[in-house]
């Protein structure tokens, strides 16, 4: 992708940090989301049990993924849903285009779908003369402004109300400026209704697909998802392979975790369960339903027992909401479709370390994400593993471009550090030297980065090693 070729993470970060309005919008919004989540999970022990259950369900599904996908395909087919397999995004885009062409569709109405973002579907369709309209309110706003989502659940979260008002006034013909939320919603509804009524094809994502019954489950709050999947003649659903669950009884705990973590709701306003196209005698619903199963690197991720945990993700977005880095820079700075902690572990695995490995450096490993992740993904451990693979091709490296960061200078630094911390005489020499220079170290390299906003650390004249003896503390 164009944008990704010129991905300059450092510059993006600096730019975002300077944007006071962005930081304020994000902080306010994240505070609300964090608080809402807290309020629907008041009992810590209950939540921990639920998270353990969520983890176990998803683990079980991943363990038998190939079987479950085949079962899903068989049951969907039996129900009249047409199933397509796509190894990469180009193939998935091609399948969508084929369906649209077959129905002579020049436009498509879309429900919110991160997989379609991963496919860069809108851009692809545009190059083929097809107009894809985002109908989720947040997506609608940023599409008007030619932006990409900055959050996987609340895509326009970086915008405040005034900004939305200005976008509507500027981009939608005959629209007066208003900051009234109801009026803004009414404006969007007016535009969208017309398009729902006229579109031949609707496209959506999938939150969970149930192999046992061949059911696609989709949660949303605005009803636009239901419109996209029921009004047009044709419904196309796109999903990543990892979204499949074994059975219907797996749904309730995960649904509770998803909506509680994502938006702090006990349940969303709409829970759509789609099991077939319109049946004989039914008065509504699409005539055709298609399901596109996208791999795009997922089966490779699945093959590594540790990295596999990335695929437990149910895309709730709560790791973004709790991340001290995300809240300060927002989603666009990450330069890829999936931002925040989940993006830091997923993107390098999908795109390779050379293109996206730098994302793994943007974490203090504070663990706030892993603490809240509803399916217990050990995000910091996976970030650490990506850092290791960035330098090292050994130890069973599985990510593309392993070792890309390997360089003599850093290797020497860490070798030196190892020596200083394994040879006691060197260790003493080191602390004594540091003690002798005190805070008069040459201001270069890492120390320069440190002293940008801090005074240099002041080394003590005598180390603890030296001083314990005087206290009568014995060696052993």
């Amino acid at each position: 992708m164009e944008a990704e070729k010129t991905f300059d993470f450092e510059n993006n970060i600096e730019k975002a940090l300077r944007d006071d309005r962005l930081r304020k919008n994000l902080r306010n919004a994240m505070d609300i989301l964090v608080e809402k989540r807290r309020s629907v999970f008041p009992d810590r022990e209950h939540l921990e049990r639920l998270r353990a259950a969520g983890n176990a369900i998803k683990r079980r599904a991943l363990k038998q993924l190939p079987c479950l996908l085949e079962q899903l395909e068989a049951n969907c087919t039996k129900n009249g849903i047409q199933v397509h397999w796509a190894e990469d995004t180009a193939e998935a885009n091609g399948i969508v285009l084929d369906i649209l062409r077959r129905h002579d569709a020049k436009e498509v109405v879309k429900g919110k779908s991160m997989v379609s973002e991963e496919m860069h579907l809108n851009h692809f369709l545009q190059t083929h003369g097809i107009d894809a309209l985002e109908t989720d309110l947040g997506e609608f706003i940023i599409q008007l402004n030619h932006e990409t989502p900055s959050h996987i659940i609340v895509p326009a979260i970086h915008k405040n109300r005034d900004e939305v008002a200005a976008i509507f006034q500027e981009k939608i013909p005959d629209t007066p400026y208003t900051e009234n939320v109801e009026e803004l919603t009414a404006i969007a509804r007016r535009v969208l209704r017309e398009r729902f009524a006229r579109a031949k094809v609707g496209l959506s994502g999938v939150n969970f697909a149930i192999a046992e019954t061949g059911t696609l489950l989709l949660v949303e709050n605005e009803g636009n998802g239901r419109m996209c999947t029921t009004v047009p003649e044709v419904h196309v659903a796109v999903m990543g392979l990892e979204k499949v669950l074994e059975k219907l009884s797996d749904v309730p705990p995960l649904l509770r975790l998803l909506t509680g973590s994502a938006t702090g709701q006990l349940i969303t306003t709409y829970v759509n369960m789609i099991t077939s196209p319109r049946r004989q005698g039914e008065k509504d619903g699409p005539r055709e339903v298609h399901l596109i199963l996208l791999d795009n690197g997922r089966s490779h991720i699945l093959s590594d027992p540790e990295f596999r945990q990335t695929l437990l993700c149910i895309r709730c977005g709560t790791c973004l909401n709790h991340c001290p880095v995300y809240v300060r820079i927002g989603g666009h700075a990450y330069g890829h479709v999936y931002p925040g902690p989940i993006g830091k572990i997923l993107t390098p695995q999908m795109e390779g370390l050379r293109r996206a490995g730098v994302l793994a450096t943007a974490s203090s490993l504070c663990g706030a994400c892993a603490e809240v992740c509803p399916v217990q993904i050990p995000i910091p451990a996976l970030i650490r593993r990506l850092r290791r693979e960035s330098y090292d091709t050994g130890d069973g490296a599985t990510v593309a471009d392993a070792g890309y960061r390997s360089n003599l200078a850093e290797t020497l630094i860490w070798k030196g550090w190892e020596l200083a911390n394994t040879v006691p005489a060197l260790n003493r020499l080191g602390t004594r030297l540091a003690g002798a220079v005190g805070d008069k170290m040459p201001n270069r390299g890492p120390l320069k980065a440190w002293t940008r906003v801090r005074t240099a650390p002041k080394f003590a004249a005598k180390s603890l090693h030296d001083r314990v003896g005087k206290e009568g503390v014995k060696n052993e």
């Binding site: 450096t361 911390n421 440190w450 906003v453 801090r454 603890l464």
Partner: protein, 252 residues
């Protein structure tokens, strides 16, 4: 986190001084040792000890981290508890050593070592059941939780228990007490702009409390926060809780 089990009060403990305390905050290390000895324990400080290995481990240099960790396994051979005055280093030694040595000949040794690791304040409260008598002047402080003390070790309540025993100390909580200060080891130098933004917000939060001192249980955070305060001219002191406790409670 599995439920931690605690031994009866032992006669002897090992003290692991951490590399930052060794080189930059030795007073805090001595204070921690004094707190332990005052409870009648004999404290051993193996001179061959160095660093827990976390800096390399988190930076992606697992081999180097393992070599340094192995040195610590060797230096603390007897079955005494190992008391660590840092939630972060304790977390490394307790929770990451077993994974670092998984599949190596030292796997069992690492596990046995990890079982003996306790964070200082956790040990003072849960094992020694200390009762502190405050001899200091009235003071208002605030407390900074390190992320690993909070999330890996779950020991922040013990630090607060100890502060709560000091009758002349009033503790004002930070507004965002659970948010990282931006230290993160090499993160501070690999992502300096992000780290700077995080520590600036932390300093602002500390300033808003009106406290004259910020107390913490981890030297990494302390170095980050006090360095940023000094650089921006904020006149609030920073101190390791061990040193603060000792200062306020020892008879002079």
């Amino acid at each position: 986190m599995e439920k931690q089990e605690y031994p009866a009060k032992p006669e002897t403990v090992y003290f692991f001084g951490t590399c930052l305390m060794d080189a930059i905050y030795p007073d805090a290390g001595l204070a921690a040792i004094r707190l332990l000895r005052r409870e009648g324990l004999s404290v051993l400080f193996p001179q061959g000890q160095s660093c827990c290995g976390q800096p390399a481990y988190n930076a992606g240099f697992a081999g180097e981290a393992r070599a340094v960790a192995r040195k610590q396994l060797e230096e603390f051979p007897k079955p005494y508890p190992i008391v660590v005055p840092s939630g972060s280093c304790a977390g490394m030694m307790k929770h990451h050593y077993p994974e670092l040595f998984a599949g190596t000949p030292e796997e069992d040794a690492a596990r046995a070592f990890s079982d003996r690791v306790y964070e200082l304040f956790e040990f003072l409260v849960r094992v020694l059941d200390v009762r502190l008598e405050d001899r200091g002047e009235p003071v208002t402080i605030t407390w900074h939780s390190s992320c690993h003390a909070l999330r890996e070790m779950g020991v922040v309540p013990y630090a607060k228990t100890l502060i709560g025993q000091l009758k002349n100390v009033s503790l004002v909580a930070l507004e965002r007490e659970t948010e990282c200060c931006g230290f993160g080891g090499t993160f501070a130098v690999k992502q300096p702009a992000l780290s700077a933004a995080m520590v600036a917000d932390k300093v602002a939060d500390i300033s808003r409390t009106g406290a004259s001192k910020v107390v913490a249980g981890d030297c990494g955070c302390l170095m980050n926060i006090t360095g940023a305060m000094a650089h921006s001219g904020v006149r609030i002191a920073g101190q390791h809780l061990a040193e603060f406790l000792w200062e306020r409670t020892h008879g002079s």
